[in-house]
């Protein structure tokens, strides 16, 4: 079993804000397999947390557990110190890797999301205008959402999530299949949201993006957290075998030396 490495310096530890979201011994099993195993993480208010790891590490699953889309098999998710409930869920929003857009216009997609949150009338109109302006979609307001380009669709998905006024925004590889210009536009939207006080939790495979957007980093391997710390520190000097292999662009195997030494309890 791996022990999670905490890759921090004393100055980082000195300015730890209150956790907005925490997991306690979080576990999830499916088909007899433990896909998320005893995960304890803190998502700090106002920070940008990046979740990384190889394919199948459990990143998207962890994101869904944090957002309450799936029920954990073990442990719990705490929102502001209390078990995640409906009110907590309403303070969250999520953007999926492949944008899920209704078969309606750009404007109707935004309107639907706000109506679902009980936001109507003038306030809804105001939020829609702001969202379309921020995502630079005003000119496309009446265009069917599903004929937009991949980048425009993802910007709409982010704008829709932000229009709901979340305290925290989960993003599951939002730029995975986008061109560089669209990636830049999406990153700008995320940065803008963060500047407006939204806590960001981002799953990405892109090392550059993790450096650009990440304050904190959680590295997953086999459903377990193997390393946490400031994004730059973890990426520049990874302590765990899986994170080290990842930054070096190679696969990590169970037989690798770091893993063996962990199992023997020899972490020297």
């Amino acid at each position: 079993m791996f022990e999670a490495q905490t890759n921090t310096t004393s100055t980082d530890a000195a300015r730890v804000p209150t956790p907005l979201l925490q997991t306690r011994s979080l576990g999830f099993e499916a088909g007899g397999q433990r896909l998320i195993d005893t995960v304890d993480v803190d998502i700090r208010t106002g920070r940008r947390t990046v979740i990384m790891g190889a394919n199948g590490a459990g990143k998207s699953l962890l994101l869904r557990l944090l957002h309450g889309l799936i029920r954990p098999s073990a442990g719990q998710v705490l929102w502001q110190g209390r078990p995640l409930d409906r009110a907590g869920r309403y303070a969250q929003a999520m953007v999926f890797q492949r944008p899920v857009l209704l078969r309606r216009s750009v404007l109707a997609n935004l309107s639907f999301a706000l109506s679902a949150r009980g936001i109507r009338g003038r306030e809804r109109k105001r939020r829609i205008e702001i969202a379309m302006h921020q995502a630079r979609l005003t000119a496309l307001a009446y265009r069917p959402a599903r004929v937009l380009s991949g980048g425009e669709q993802q910007r709409l998905a982010i704008a829709r999530a932000l229009a709901c006024g979340p305290e925290i925004l989960f993003l599951d590889e939002p730029t995975a299949s986008l061109d560089p210009a669209s990636i830049h536009a999406v990153e700008e939207l995320i940065a803008q949201a963060h500047a407006n006080g939204v806590t960001i939790v981002l799953v990405t495979h892109d090392l550059g993006q993790a450096r650009r957007l990440g304050d904190d980093l959680i590295f997953l391997h086999g459903g377990r957290v193997v390393e946490t710390g400031p994004a730059a520190t973890v990426l520049d000097n990874p302590k765990s075998g899986p994170a080290k292999a990842w930054t070096e662009g190679r696969l990590f195997f169970e037989s690798d030396p770091w893993n063996r030494s962990q199992r023997l309890g020899d972490r020297s």
Partner: protein, 235 residues
């Protein structure tokens, strides 16, 4: 016996002359069928959407039941409705037997499972795509159903079309509960059956042609709407 060609010519003559009997029969057929399809859709679409979108105990049993009921034998439905509406039946006091209303009831029973079962399939597929997003946005059960039905609207046109096809071509049930009474409950299919047995093939064939043309027009209209929707990426 006249040749097929001359019968067909006479049939077209009746259609082109807008023969009053023919117009009356076609009118009643459309009234009964469209009413039954509308009521079936009002019941079947939300029911099918609920079964397709939500997980609840008995969902699989209900799905199997709806699918099985798609193949309900019309004469059995006709007989059951007849027994319910007959003077000694539980709804005998309503005096609905041998009226167009009885025919609408029988056709509604036949079409509702079709509307519900096909809607379930359409909505289930769409819900697979939308479910997580709905959960993330916190959309309530009614909001989900209405959003799914709205976004599947062009696919559901085909569902309504399938129901229309079943109802307009149906003969057994409406014959039993309607009685095929001239100027009261005589519709296209029952007239075709009657006139054929009487040897009046011109009217029978004329009605057959009208039935085919109606099906063709409605199918073409639905395809055109779907095509337009597809081009606008609404399907």
């Amino acid at each position: 016996m006249d040749s097929f060609g001359s019968i067909l010519a006479e049939a077209f003559g009746l259609i082109l002359a807008l023969d009053p009997d023919l117009v009356e029969i076609v009118g009643l057929s459309l009234k009964v069928t469209l009413s039954a399809v509308a009521i079936s859709c009002l019941i079947g679409l939300p029911l099918g959407a609920a079964v397709g979108a939500f997980r609840f105990p008995g969902r699989i049993v209900l799905t199997v039941l709806l699918n099985a009921m798609m193949g309900l034998p019309p004469v059995v439905v006709g007989l059951t409705v007849y027994l319910m509406l007959s003077a000694s039946g539980p709804f005998g006091a309503l005096a609905l037997l041998y009226t167009p209303t009885a025919m609408i009831i029988a056709q509604t029973i036949l079409v509702t499972p079709i509307a519900a079962a096909l809607t379930r399939q359409v909505v289930e597929d769409l819900n697979r795509e939308y479910a997580e997003q709905f959960a993330s946005l916190g959309v309530g059960p009614l909001g989900r159903i209405s959003a799914l039905l709205r976004d599947a609207r062009f696919s559901l046109l085909t569902v309504a079309l399938a129901g229309f096809g079943r109802a307009v071509a149906e003969v057994g049930a409406v014959m039993i509960v309607g009685g095929n009474i001239n100027h009261v409950t005589r519709v296209m299919t029952t007239t075709i059956a009657l006139e054929t047995s009487k040897g009046n093939l011109q009217l029978a064939l004329a009605l057959g042609v009208v039935l085919l043309i109606l099906s063709l027009i409605i199918n073409a209209a639905v395809m055109a709407v779907r095509g337009t929707a597809q081009r606008a990426a609404y399907v």
